[in-house]
Every structure is written in C-alpha cells, then in structure tokens.
C-alpha cells in the first residue's frame, strides 16, 4: 500500500470526482470531498516522511520503466507542494459546507464538488509527476475545472472572469505544450530526469531557446506574473468565496513549483540562469509586480480584488527570490510560498465568513464589523499583520529571508523594493481595519441584528490558519529546513 502512495495521492481524488457527481445530496457530496481532501493530506504527510527517511521516491506507472514509461517522482520539492495543496484543500473543505450551500444552487452542488476534486487532482498531479507531458495534462485538468468553478460564482461577472481566465489560461497551457513538444523533438524524451541530462549538451540549439521562451511565457501566465496577471483579480474577486480560498493558496503556488521544476530541474540552473538569463527576465518583472500591484491594491474598494492584487504583488516577491539565482534566494522563495499560501488563504477565508453574513466585500460595508464580527475581524487584523510582515508572524520570516538573500547578493534595489512593498501593504490593510473599527454602518440593511459572528464551522478553520501564521513565524524548522533540503537537492 505504502509503495503505491505516489499514485494513490493523485488517483483517489480522480476516482472520487465522478462519484461525487452521482451523489444526489449536497451534504453527502461535501462529506466525500472533505474525506478525500483529508485523505490526500494524510497521504502527503506520509510521502513527506518517506522522502525524509528514504530519499527520492520513484514510482513507475504501470510498471513501465522510465524514460519510456511515466514516472511519478516525489522529492522534497514535490512533497512540500503536495503538503501545501492538500492541507489547503482540507481546511477549505472543512469550512466550505455552509458557504457553498449559500452560494451554489443545490442541483449544481454535485457538479461543483466533482469539479473541485478534479482541480485538486490536477494540482496534486503536477507536483507528483516526473514527466513533462504529464505535467501539461494535469495542468489542463486543474485549469479546466477551475474555469468551471470560477464560473459558478453568484455574481454574473463571474462568467466573464472565467472566460477571461479561460482564454489566458489556454494560451499559457498551449505555450507550455509547445515548449514541451520542442523539447521532445530535440531529445526524444519526456522524462524530466532524462531531459535534465540531455539538455546541457545542446544549449547552443535555437530550438532549445524557443522551447525555453515558450515555457517561460506559459508558466508566467499561469503564475500571474506581471504583466500577465490580468486574469487573476477578476477571477479571484468573482469566484465562489471558498474557491477563491482554495485557488489563491494553491493554483499560483503550483505554478511557482513549475518554475522551480522546469528551470532548476528540467533545465539545470546554470543553463537557465547563465545561458538563458532567466534572472534578468524575472527580476525587473518582479520588481514592477511588487510595486504596481501593491499600489493598485490600495485603490480597490472590493476587498477580494484588493487581496487579489496583493497576491500579484506577493508573487513578485517569490519570483524576486528566484531571480537572485542563489540558493538563499530560492529557499526564501520556497518559504515565502508556504507562508503566503497560509496567510492569503486565511484572509480569503475571512472574506468568505464576511460574505456569508453580509453578502458583500465592498469596503464601505465593512463599517462597524469590528463589533459585529469581532473574531473574524481579529483574524483579519492578525493575518493582515502577517501580510505586512510584522515580526512573530510567518510573513516576517518570508520577508526576512527574501531581504537577506537580496542584500547578500548586494542587490540593493531588490532590498528597497522588498521593504517598500511592505509599506504599501500597511496602507491597504489599514484601509480595512480603519473601516471596520472606526466607522459605523450607514446602510440601514446592515443595522439588522442578523449580522453576527460567522458560524463556528468557518471560524475554527480560520483560526487554525491564524495560529499557523504565528507558529510558522516562531518555528521555521519545517518551512526553512524542508525548503532548504528541497533546494539543495535541485540547486547543486
């Protein structure tokens, strides 16, 4: 049983998806989706332990030996991302039932949960597989299902956002497919490990240049790296609340994983950074992303959109870490990935709580929430401090590593941008806090006694994330050590 874990990790959610569609009652579908999410989390933890004890796990699908057969390959990097994705899935599903009942019509809920499980399958599959074409397949599984999930948002604008994402996402996926195709043409293999050995011999090839360019552009689109981020704010703002929680903490993070997998694994890092100058492409884009997206976030009145723009900025921090082309920078970026998934997932979960009660995420409707939903607002304050990067929170740790990696490389502009971005974060987070604690509601509808604290089923997962925000701020033994082992394995 344990031997088959790498495959089971992906297959269990995949098989459960159609089952979910057949289940007629919404609560049963929810139960199944939750059970599968938690099961995948347990499997991810088991895999992480196996990897820590025995080193890299290689699983040959159907018994075919790579490079001919498809290989599932779990190293520290994969295990790290698997944990993040499956943990987010569990927290989201535990909190999701009431919110989904409210936002998704009853007859669609079976479909909703099966789309969710497919999305989970895709994201887990990307992290688990060691085959470049397989990555594309899972990417499409997760993308297509997430278009459907976003389109299920209550606001009619969800449809156009999903369409926008569909177009952009498909272009991205196509680019990745073209890149992988070109690589296959050059080397005759799709196995990442095999590719890694063959690529250094052919760096002069123009086709390889083209493949690299297509992959970079494709992944950047999926990653929402500035200026290819335009799909993200709308998609996050209008998707069902719980889907925003799930996607914000996983989708872009898995794309970042792809960046690592392709440009540190498939292409050896010295090829990516020295022959193809990846750092010089990522660095300016990251800096612009941090500054402009943070700046735009300040002027948003829809808080989900504000947080979405903040995500674009935070992605900039992660790519900034990578662009430094140093071990420390990459580790910083990995630590950032985990901490940001936690903080942003938490903030969007708090938004879900607020939508559940007041059915709005407009800034003006936050007036007086400090008194009416004290626990939710306190969570927003604490997670917001994490986003700013105040000491004792996880956000501080991630900023600390990025900042020290930048200064270590003598990269002063990067360092200034890192701290400057934090200052901008204070501005947009404090807009929410001032509105909630200093203003009294104007709208009559918001004076009703119906507005009270969110249900416990949502509050508890939210506060688990708040606690995690502080735990990871005080104890970096998991985040830093695991990320460090992962990077040392792929960055010789």
């Amino acid at each position: 049983m344990l031997d088959h874990l790498p495959a089971l990790q992906v297959i269990i959610p995949l098989i459960s998806a159609p089952v979910c569609m057949l289940v007629t009652r919404a609560s049963w579908a929810w139960l199944l989706a939750t059970a599968v999410s938690i099961a995948s989390f347990v499997m991810a933890l088991l895999l992480a332990r196996e990897v820590s004890v025995h080193g890299v796990l290689s699983y040959h699908l159907g018994g075919w030996v790579p490079p001919l057969g498809i290989e599932y390959r779990i190293d520290h990097l994969s295990a790290y991302v698997l944990i993040i994705v499956s943990a987010t899935a569990s927290i989201t599903m535990l909190a999701a039932r009431k919110s989904i009942e409210q936002e998704v019509s009853r007859e669609k809920s079976g479909l909703f949960y099966s789309a969710y499980l497919l999305c989970l399958t895709g994201l887990l599959g990307i992290a688990a597989t060691g085959d470049a074409f397989n990555i594309f397949v899972f990417l499409e599984i997760s993308s297509l299902s997430s278009y459907a999930l976003i389109a299920m948002g209550r606001d009619r604008r969800a449809l156009t956002s999903a369409y926008q994402y569909l177009i952009m996402g498909t272009i991205g996926a196509t680019f990745i497919l073209i890149g992988v195709g070109l690589l296959y043409m050059l080397t005759g293999t799709l196995n990442i490990l095999d590719l890694q050995q063959k690529i250094p011999g052919i760096t002069g090839s123009r086709t390889l240049h083209a493949a690299f360019a297509f992959l970079t552009a494709g992944i950047s689109l999926k990653l929402a790296l500035f200026p290819l981020h335009l799909w993200l704010p709308n998609a996050y703002a209008y998707a069902p609340s719980m889907i925003t929680v799930f996607l914000s903490a996983t989708a872009t993070k898995v794309s970042l994983y792809l960046l690592f997998r392709f440009f540190f694994g498939l292409f050896p890092p010295e090829v990516s950074f020295e022959s193809f100058h990846l750092g010089r492409i990522l660095l300016p884009l990251s800096i612009v992303a941090i500054l402009t997206a943070s700046f735009v976030a300040i002027f948003q009145d829809n808080i989900k959109r504000m947080l979405a723009y903040s995500s674009v900025a935070q992605i900039g921090y992660m790519t900034l870490g990578i662009s430094l082309a140093s071990k420390e920078g990459s580790i910083a970026s990995m630590v950032y990935l985990l901490n940001h998934a936690l903080i942003k997932g938490g903030l969007f979960l708090a938004m879900a709580c607020i939508v559940f009660r007041i059915n709005s995420v407009q800034l003006e409707d936050f007036a007086g929430l400090g008194r009416r939903m004290p626990w939710t607002m306190a969570a927003i304050v604490l997670l917001g401090l994490g986003l700013i990067g105040v000491p004792l929170t996880a956000g501080f740790i991630s900023k600390w590593y990025v900042l020290s990696a930048a200064i270590e490389q003598g990269h002063w502009l990067g360092a200034v941008v890192v701290v400057g971005g934090s200052l901008l974060a204070i501005l947009y987070i404090w807009k929410i806090i001032e509105q909630a604690y200093f203003r009294t509601p104007v709208k009559v509808a918001l004076h009703t006694s119906a507005i009270r604290e969110a249900p416990l089923a949502m509050l508890i997962p939210l506060w688990v994330l708040v606690a995690g925000n502080f735990y990871l701020g005080l104890n970096t033994s998991f985040s830093y050590n695991f990320a460090s082992t992962a990077i040392h394995a792929i960055f010789p």
Partner: protein
C-alpha cells in the same frame, strides 16, 4: 531563587495581568485591582533581578526561530534600569489612570487596561532583549499594542492621529531598522549584544556612517527629525497614555535602543574611531533646537510637552553620538531623570483637564490658586526638565555638557545652552500664568466649582514630582550601576 532566572516572567506578568483584566471585564474594581497587582508584582520582580550577580550573563534563550536568530533575554545594567523605570512608573500611572478614566467617564476601559498591559510587556521585552532580533520584535509589538491606545476615542481625529503614528513608526522600522538589521546580520554574522560591539573589523568608513544613520532613523521612537511627527499625533490619546507611553515607555524604548545599539552593536570606541555618528549628531542637534522652537509656538499644553519630549530625546541621541563614555552615561541617566520630570508634567496636564477641561496654556490664568498642588508639582517637574539643581535633570545635563566639552564639540555645547534657555521659555510660563496672572473671566465665573483633580490623580503626580528631587540627592547608586556599561 531559581525562578528569577526565567527572565520571560517580566513579559508574562503583565500579560497575565492583561488576561485578568479581560476576565474581570464587568467588575471594574477587580479589573483595576488586577492591573495594579500586576504592576506591583512586575516591579518587585525587577527589583529582585537587581540582586542577581551582574557579572554572570544570565542568558535565557526562549526559542530559536532559525539558526542564529533567537528570542533571548539577558541581564545588563542599562536594560535593568529601563525595566525598573518602566515598571515602577507603570504602577503609579495605573493609579493615575483610575482617577483619570473615571473622572472623564472614558469608555472601553477594559480594552484600555488590556493594551496598556501588553505595551508594558513589550517594553520589558525591549529592556531585556539579548540580541537585536529580539529587540526588533518587541519594538514592533510595542508599536502595534499602543495603536489601540492612541486611537482609544475612535473619533476621526483619533483615526488620523493613529495613521500618522502607525505610518511613521512602522514605516521607519521596516524601511530602515529592518534593513540595518539584515545588513548587520550579513556583515557581522551575529545579532547578539556584545560589550564593545560586533562590527569591529567587519565594516568601516562610510559604510559604518551609513549603517549607524540607518539604525538611528529606523528607530522612529527616538523621534529624530524628520520622523518625529508621530509623537505630537499620539497626543490624541487619553493623558495616562501620553504620560507613561509617550514620555516614558515608548519614547524611552526608542532612545534605549539607540544607546543599546551604540554600546553593544557598534561599541563606543568603534563609533569614535570610524566617526560613524557624524551625520546623526548634527541631525540630533538640529532636532533638539527646532523642536524647542516649535514647542514655544504651541498653545495646547500636551502638544507643547510633546515637542519638548522630542527635543529632550535628542539629548540622549546626542549622548550616544558624541561617542564619549561620560556623554553616553549622561544620556543613559537622562532616560531616567527626564522620565520623572516629563511624566509629572503630563500628569499635571491630565489633572488640569480632568478638573477644568482646559487644554490650552492661555486658559490657565489664575488656576494656580485653585489647584496649588498640581501647579507646584508642575513647577518642580519643569525645573527638573530644564536641568536646574536641586532636581534630577541637572545631573544628566551636566554629564552631557561635560561630554560635549571633552570631545571639543563646542557647537554642541552652545546648542545645549540655547536649548536650556528655550526650555525655560516654553515650560515656565505655564506655571507663572497660573500663579501670577489674574483669572480669566470664565475661570472666575466657574468660581468654587474648580478644585483639585481626584486624589487618584493628585497622589501620583506629587509622587513623581518628589521623585525628581529625591533623585538629585540619590543619583550615586544609579551612576555606579551604569558606569561599567560605558567604561568596560
């Protein structure tokens, strides 16, 4: 006395007090009692720490966040003095708060006492920090814990004051302090406080000047211009907050950090060798004079006192920047002496407000006869801040002036003189108006209605005023205690 070694108790005691405050939310008497009790316990605990052998390190590592970066506490004279000062004055301020908050019927008192306790816990963390990392953490929590106190009234005025407060303090600390911290970490490979500094041989010339300046600007709580605006903005807070936090705990945490970094990160000799403080020195001199002139122009007493504090904080920064042991020692003593003087002045401002609702100096005519104790205490506090004997302030000023003369900074010497004159010009008229000018018509009309503030306000302010005199005569133990810090 094994438990004494658990230095984190200094943080846990006020936090525990805070929990009791929450628990007794609906029983004001018990709530206030638990606040006072926590203060007394904390003060006793700190006095017990004085008895420990200072030669030993008493390092207490709480947890290691990442290799080399740990939350750790240690005992060291400078920090002990700051801890003793903050905890002692916390007790007095709590008594005063009870009188003030009830006298003015303030709302949300539970929140007030809770965040007050958390602020003190943060101040203790700063005082006992064994490395820069720990100091930075508690520096930031202090900013965040005081924010709800500054914006206590939740009016739009409080909101905009709070914005400036948080914006400047968080902004400078993230922009400059954090950067300086990371640079130090990368250059020196450690962030521990070590006598004589950790940068010797790691950094030199302009780089050391830049790093020192970065640190000093980053410590926004020391209110060096142009990052001083948060302090006047913080005056929207209830007066006990202004008194303890913005005359003692917060601002002194700032200058304490300045001294601590000068002595234990750079080392006084290193600063002198590299001339690292050259920019900061002139910035501090300019701040001292400009703030005094602005103070002259303020009619609102609390605003005037705020600018006076900005000016006085620069004395301490100058003490560090002169890079001369006697001057730095003078700066350290000034932390204590100015604290007693300034808290007295703020207590008086609050007492006047509670009794008469007057906030502006021009309204004080003739009030001295109605409130003789308050204004007498004010006069003592003012004389101490000015630095006249027989008040505590004279000692620290003496050492600072001596330091500037010994290092042949005659311009700084002249600036001290000028600043003293300005001090007289903006502090003394307040008391003189009250005693010698005829009462204004509305004060006269209010007639016998005006009398001294409640006893809970009056006793603390008399106590701190008496403290300024006592400290003049009993400064020697403090001097001896701090002497080894600057003359290793």
């Amino acid at each position: 006395m094994q438990f004494l070694e658990h230095l984190e108790l200094a943080i846990l005691i006020p936090l525990l007090g805070g929990i009791f405050v929450l628990a007794f939310h609906s029983r004001p008497r018990l709530r206030e009692a638990s606040s006072i009790l926590a203060g007394v316990l904390l003060f006793l605990y700190i006095t017990q720490l004085l008895g420990l052998d200072p030669a030993q390190d008493h390092l207490r590592t709480l947890l290691e966040i990442s290799p080399g970066l740990s939350i750790a506490f240690h005992l060291e004279p400078l920090g002990l003095v700051f801890a003793l000062l903050a905890s002692g004055l916390w007790v007095i301020t709590t008594v005063y708060s009870i009188g003030y908050l009830n006298g003015n019927a303030e709302k949300n008192q539970t929140r007030f006492y809770l965040f007050f306790a958390m602020s003190i816990a943060s101040a203790m963390g700063i005082a006992l920090a064994a490395n820069l990392f720990t100091l930075f953490i508690f520096y930031e929590t202090l900013t965040l814990c005081t924010y709800p106190l500054v914006t206590h009234k939740q009016t739009s005025e409080a909101q905009s004051g709070g914005r400036i407060y948080l914006g400047v303090l968080l902004g400078t600390s993230i922009m400059f302090f954090l950067s300086a911290l990371v640079i130090t970490w990368i250059q020196a490979g450690t962030l521990d406080f070590v006598s004589g500094g950790i940068l010797e041989g790691k950094l030199g010339g302009t780089a050391s000047v830049l790093l020192f300046t970065l640190f000093m600007l980053g410590i926004g709580k020391a209110a060096l211009m142009p990052f001083h605006r948060w302090l006047p903005a913080a005056m929207v807070a209830p007066t006990p907050v202004s008194a303890l936090l913005h005359a003692v705990a917060v601002v002194k945490a700032g200058v304490f950090s300045v001294l601590k970094i000068s002595v234990y990160v750079f080392g006084i000799d290193f600063i002198a060798e590299q001339d690292a403080s050259v920019w900061v020195l002139w910035l501090a001199v300019a701040t001292m004079l400009i703030a005094s002139v602005i103070a002259l122009s303020k009619d609102n007493l609390k605003a005037r006192l705020a600018y006076s504090t900005i000016s006085q904080l620069s004395y301490i920064v100058i003490g560090a920047a002169l890079a001369w042991p006697a001057a730095a020692l003078g700066g350290a003593l000034h932390i204590v002496t100015h604290a007693f003087g300034k808290i007295t002045l703020f207590f008086c401002a609050g007492a006047i407000y509670t009794a008469t609702k007057c906030t502006h100096v021009s309204q004080f005519n003739g009030l001295g006869h109605k409130m003789p104790f308050t204004f007498a205490a004010y006069l003592l506090g003012a004389l101490s801040v000015i630095g006249l004997p027989p008040f505590a302030g004279s000692w620290s000023k003496w050492l600072l002036v001596e330091g500037s003369a010994s290092t042949q900074h005659y311009i700084v010497l002249g600036a001290f003189g000028l600043s003293t004159l300005l001090n007289c010009a903006y502090l003394l008229p307040v008391a003189l108006r009250a005693f010698f000018k005829p009462p204004s018509p509305d004060v006269a009309a209010a007639g016998p209605g005006i009398r001294e503030a409640p006893l809970a306000c009056l006793i603390p302010l008399c106590a701190t005023a008496a403290g300024t005199v006592l400290l003049f005569f009993y400064i020697q133990p403090l001097y001896d205690f701090l002497y080894p810090v600057f003359n290793p």
